[in-house]
Symmetry: C2
Subunit: 419 residues, 2 copies
């Protein structure tokens, strides 16, 4: 039986050592991890084959099997990512906001690890390594809970990680994984506030909802993007079509892909047929409001009337909701009502419209004349991406290494008392 309390305690204990490690030691362990992943690929792939076999006999879809699958080549790519993390700058230990106060206290903030992270994700063995590498780099211990379909792979990967840690004198409990399929353990992990400092769910809406409702630990919610593009009256139309196609078609299955297109009524009759034709050629199906239905009535494209819930859909596929709006304010109201505050864009050549939109739309990322697809740690130059936060505290949007840290205040005096 899995003793989560003991795991939490062990993770907390390991976090003390981790917080004090130099970047050199952490990076050396990361490079060893990359090497071991390649050297021990046979054992890892054998464990993964067991998961694949079970998955097939349990009737997993081809898409899920593909997510689950490790190959020599994929392992190589994972190892390369770990080496990349080793070469990123280490945010831990940075000191900032230093000042000497009038009362004589010499005060500064120091960036420190958060402590122990609880990460809950789906049947993706690559996430196991990814999260372990980012946690180690930032001096955090982590307790991982991957999808039950990937138990054998995660066991094998965790063994390799712990071997890499121990090679460099690091407590192996710095990275632990829960390999017991009992679902009650997830709820238990969410309430382990005595030992776990932060919960990061990486999965769908159901998982996020579970975490929000059950956790007694701060949760970084995110990754769900109902994303909008509003085409203003003055938009440069060729550029708009290119951006909309990019946002919708380039990778429809991800959270920063476009879900709803809002078009200013003044240009709808001219613009909608052009963009619809282009999207039709890319295989996009449209869900239309009455106004756009009328405009596109004679067009032979994949379309249907938008249902009542269609503006609250994260499509994750080649489907796009469309609505004609009276003006900028109606676009803003629509976005406030339906956006998950992930990524929303305005396409306009009017400065006042751009400024109003950027001020009024309170999403993690707000764009002017650019694709929503940019919301991504590597696109934003963060080097790594832990998650994309759509909640407002601690971090918003793509979270890099720095967002896995917090700070403490350090005050020094010369026998200083408060007067």
């Amino acid at each position: 039986m899995t003793d989560l309390n003991a795991m939490g305690q062990a993770g907390r204990q390991a976090s003390y050592q981790l917080a004090g490690l130099s970047s050199n030691v952490k990076n050396a362990a990361l490079l060893s991890l990359a090497d071991l992943l390649e050297q021990q690929s046979a054992a890892i792939l054998a464990a993964n084959a067991q998961d694949i076999e079970q998955g097939k006999s349990n009737g997993l879809t081809d898409a899920l099997i593909d997510r689950l699958l490790l190959t020599e080549e994929r392992l190589g790519a994972i190892a390369a990512d770990v080496r990349m993390v080793a070469h990123l700058a280490d945010p831990v230990g940075e000191e900032f906001d230093a000042k000497v106060l009038e009362n004589g206290l010499r005060l500064r903030k120091r960036r420190v690890p958060v402590g122990v992270l609880g990460v809950i994700y789906e049947a993706r063995p690559n996430v196991t390594i990814d999260v372990a590498a980012l946690s180690l780099k930032t001096g955090n211990a982590c307790i991982l809970r991957g999808g039950k379909e990937t138990t054998h792979s995660n066991k094998a990967l965790t063994a390799v990680i712990q071997q890499a840690l121990e090679l460099h004198g690091i407590d192996g409990n710095a990275v632990q994984s829960i390999n017991d399929p009992d679902r009650a353990l997830v709820t238990q992990l969410l309430k382990l506030d005595r030992y776990v400092d932060m919960i990061i769910p990486r999965g769908g809406k159901g998982l996020h909802q579970l975490c929000i409702e059950q956790a007694t630990i701060p949760v970084i919610t995110g990754g769900i993007g109902i994303c909008h593009v509003f085409v203003d009256q003055s938009a440069q139309q060729d550029g708009a079509i290119a951006i909309i196609e990019n946002a919708k078609v380039q990778r429809p299955s991800v959270c920063n892909a476009l879900d709803t297109l809002l078009v200013h009524q003044a240009i709808a009759a001219e613009f909608l047929p052009k963009v619809a034709t282009q999207l039709h050629q890319s295989g996009v199906e449209l869900r239309l409001d009455p106004a756009s239905q009328q405009i596109l009535a004679s067009h032979d494209i994949k379309k249907q009337a938008a249902g009542p819930d269609d503006y609250d859909q994260e499509w994750l596929s080649l489907t796009l909701s469309v609505r004609v709006v009276d003006d900028l304010n109606m676009a803003i109201d629509h976005i406030r009502e339906h956006s998950t505050q992930h990524s929303d864009a305005i396409l306009t050549e009017t400065l006042a419209s751009a400024n109003t939109f950027v001020g009024a739309v309170n999403s993690a990322a707000v764009y002017v004349n650019a694709s929503t697809r940019f919301t991504d740690g590597s696109q934003f130059g963060l080097g790594a991406e832990v998650a994309v936060s759509t909640q407002k505290l601690h971090a918003r949007g793509p979270m890099g290494l720095t967002e896995l840290t917090t700070y403490k205040w350090i005050g020094e005096g010369d026998q200083l008392i408060r007067s």
Copy 2:
């Protein structure tokens, strides 16, 4: 019947306007609020008198009655605080981390209000004004829930606040208070995640625990301080006595006051009698571990043996737990086990001890040769204090205006698509 959902919705709606207000308008409303508090003091004091009368007939302690009581003078002080907030710098709108990415995206972060704050506190009418002023200053809407003993006062104060808002064309729903004593409303507020972005409890352990367990909204926990001072072998002993007395005696009822004194065994026999004598003169009662009991056996001071839970007490009174420790590591272990990660200090002249302590003790504020009493927004030069956070995400330690904000990413391109 209080319709919390409608209040949430109204607060959210008000937050849209608030987020776009200039500092000038917000400051003007704050100055009007200060004036109105003084001009309408008769009505406010009459409402307060009703609470006082009810409180007395309900048998509230003198201390609680005193907390509840407003006077002309106290109202004047509250108004002065509001004027002070008006004169602080407004963090909203600040832009930072601006860069042009290799992909051509012009990216920056903009500081924005959090949105809608839910603040739950005790029977302290001054907090109503305090929180309203800080929320308004940072462009946040707030829903306040004060102690039920202060309903009449809060109703009167909220009316004055809304009057000040409306004088400047600001939606009165920017500051709402729940004046219905039904306790179920607290739990309901904690789950109003559709409209409320952040919960700030200002109260005791029970309230914090309730929020942690029930909230589906991020909670800023804090304000509970089990604070330690470790006197190292090399400490300057006269300075140490002054710091310990300051930390324990200056204001024992607050969260940054000292709770546990740890003394290095090498100096315990010499140091403990000196500090105990001084503390005795200030009326402090000691809870002693066996080693310190032995050292202080012949001293005629207020003392008793420390019970098993005494090291987990936030005393909030003139009581102090004492323990002799073998060395620095044992002090660190004790603090890791018992501290609430609020404020902990080392007194030492040894650089290596100071560095080890500061690195190993992960509290919101860690001190070297200074009193724990400094952990305070105004002492830290933040201008205002919303709360003292002892959790690790978003903000740690004293929270000022900036900590009531978050940021959004703004990305601008010239018809830019992701390649």
